[in-house]
């Protein structure tokens, strides 16, 4: 199965203002079929780290292994759901989902079958022939999710996929992502800045510091597997929330001050 192994990963960018170290010395492991959330202040390098695992950004140091293989570039076994709306407006929902399969060289029958399966999985049955412009933002993210899941990747990376959605929609979609994950054998790494979302969805939460982005805390989420949103009022949830919030607060303030100092 596909576990994600990060070994001393470092990403540095050259900018006109000098070298910026976005990710520094990250050594972590997402177990096969695990669900890990990555939280951190904005601009801390969460998305950069995800991008490195996806093979979209080159690490300047260290190594990423997915399922025992070193990541050197994009791989169809690693699915990505982006933060921005990535549905193609000139294709229907069905054709959007099929696109991934077409590119992967799946035959037409297989494309239709797997696309329909993925569309049903994300709860969009009945919208296969709709164009994205006719759908809400939440439904479009479902389309993007279906497109990723249609390839049945061993690893799914989600980069704040619900950041642009309203609170109710994101809680609802989060629950669905979790239930899809529970029924699959996938390994999920979920980037978010929402602590509650991170706790609700995952088995483990990583807290990332402001630049240079390092994992400063790893918290196991010891909550029952079946979680409904009412769990947020439980004592266990609040303790987890407090602990993550405490580590995060310092970092957010540090990042805030640094950004203000730079401005």
């Amino acid at each position: 199965m596909s576990e994600i192994n990060l070994e001393n990963v470092e990403v540095a960018f050259d900018t006109p203002a000098g070298t910026v170290v976005a990710v520094s010395g990250v050594t972590q492991r997402v177990p096969a079929q695990g669900f890990v959330s990555l939280v951190g202040p904005s601009g801390c390098g969460k998305s950069t780290l995800l991008s490195v695992i996806a093979g979209l950004t080159k690490a300047t140091g260290g190594q990423v292994q997915v399922g025992g293989k070193v990541v050197n570039g994009p791989d169809r076994g690693i699915g990505v759901v982006f933060q921005e709306d990535s549905t193609l407006p000139w294709r229907t929902v069905l054709d959007n989902v099929r696109f991934a399969l077409q590119v992967a060289g799946v035959d037409k029958e297989g494309q239709l079958e797997r696309a329909r399966w993925a569309i049903e999985l994300v709860g969009l049955k009945g919208f296969a022939d709709a164009y994205p412009s006719m759908l809400s933002g939440g439904m479009r993210q479902r389309v993007a999710l279906a497109r990723t899941l249609a390839l049945e990747p061993g690893v799914v990376l989600m980069d704040e996929p619900f950041a642009a959605l309203d609170q109710q929609t994101r809680i609802f979609l989060g629950a669905e992502v979790r239930s899809i994950w529970q029924r699959s054998a996938q390994t999920v790494l979920f980037v978010t800045h929402d602590i509650s979302e991170a706790i609700l969805l995952s088995e483990q939460v990583w807290v990332m510091s402001y630049r240079p982005g390092q994992i400063i805390d790893v918290i196991d989420v010891d909550l029952p597997a079946e979680r409904d949103p009412s769990i947020v009022s439980s004592h266990a949830f609040n303790e987890l929330h407090n602990r993550i919030w405490t580590s995060l607060q310092e970092e957010s303030m540090r990042g805030f001050r640094q950004q203000e100092g730079a401005a």
Binding site: D75, P89, W90, T92, V103, A104, S133, S136, G137
Partner: protein, 290 residues
């Protein structure tokens, strides 16, 4: 700038980078009334155009008859239509029409292909784009007719010189719009293409061209119009055949009646071409935000 203005003509917000998707639930129900109103708009403009054209025709019919202006200034509608119908039986008319159609057709094809290729080159090689795009933009302001003598020296007085200049005129808007459209592709589409491991060909045909389509189509529309204007205008200046040449010739021998018949035919042809373009545009950008 000209390119920006053209870009807006496409009425397509699709290619405008939009980092945050718009309101969730609100988008879907808002769709249907807007769509109904748009359909109404199309019907409305259709009816309005018909009424306007009919009114104009009636006015032009009454004008010379009532003595508001002389027949030699603008003949009555009925006589223009009658002589235009007459033209349809003359081999000379068909000869001119065939030559002009060929010139326009070739300029459209060459202009579109060349414009698309240039746009792709400017997109793929930004340095080349930065060097040459300003020249292309300023080329807009150059009256191409001035190069007619040069074209004649190079290829002689024939259809080729018309096609060459009309092609240049048609190429520019296609190239500029294609460049604007391709440079405006939302970065997330390119990220998606990379993560799905699209081949360069898949990236071009499945992502880049469709994403830039609203702009490319707007450019093609302008290209077609420029090919039409270019061909007729070049013929008008110096040519030995073609509708433009015939109109100038008839004007020089004071045959107003036939001249207006030719002008009428050219007007009808350009209207048909425009209507065709709208249909093609609708087909190419179907299903988008609207």
């Amino acid at each position: 700038m000209r390119t920006a203005a053209m870009a807006h003509q496409s009425k397509e917000p699709v290619t405008v980078p939009e980092t945050t998707p718009t309101g969730t639930a609100a988008a879907a129900p808002a769709m249907s009334p807007r769509r109904r109103r748009r359909l109404g708009d199309a019907t409305f403009s259709g009816i309005a155009t018909t009424i306007l054209v009919a009114l104009l025709a009636v006015l032009c019919e009454i004008g010379p008859r009532a003595g508001w202006w002389g027949e030699e200034v603008l003949p009555s509608t009925s006589s223009i239509v009658a002589s235009a119908a007459d033209l349809l039986g003359q081999p000379q008319f068909w000869g001119d029409a065939a030559r002009t159609s060929l010139e326009i057709g070739l300029s459209i094809v060459f202009g579109s292909v060349l414009g698309l290729l240039l746009g792709l080159v400017f997109w793929k090689l930004p340095t080349v784009g930065r060097i040459f795009e300003p020249y292309l933009v300023s080329f807009y302001a150059v009256p191409m007719v001035l190069f007619y003598p040069l074209a004649i020296v190079v290829v002689g007085i024939n259809a080729s010189s018309v096609v060459i200049l009309a092609t240049i005129m048609a190429t520019i808007p296609v190239a500029l719009n294609t460049t604007v459209g391709l440079n405006g592709i939302r970065p997330v589409y390119l990220k998606l293409a990379r993560s799905l491991q699209c081949s360069p060909r898949q990236l071009l045909t499945s992502i880049a061209l469709p994403a830039a389509a609203p702009f490319i189509v707007a450019g093609l529309r302008l290209g077609v119009v420029y090919a039409l204007i270019g061909s007729i205008a070049m013929e008008f200046v110096t040519a030995q055949a073609g509708l433009g040449y015939r109109i100038r010739y008839l004007y020089e021998i004071f045959d107003n009646q036939t001249m207006f018949a030719y002008i009428f035919v050219v007007l009808v042809v350009s209207m048909i071409l425009t209507a065709l373009l709208v249909a093609v545009e609708k087909l190419l950008v179907k299903g988008r935000t609207q």
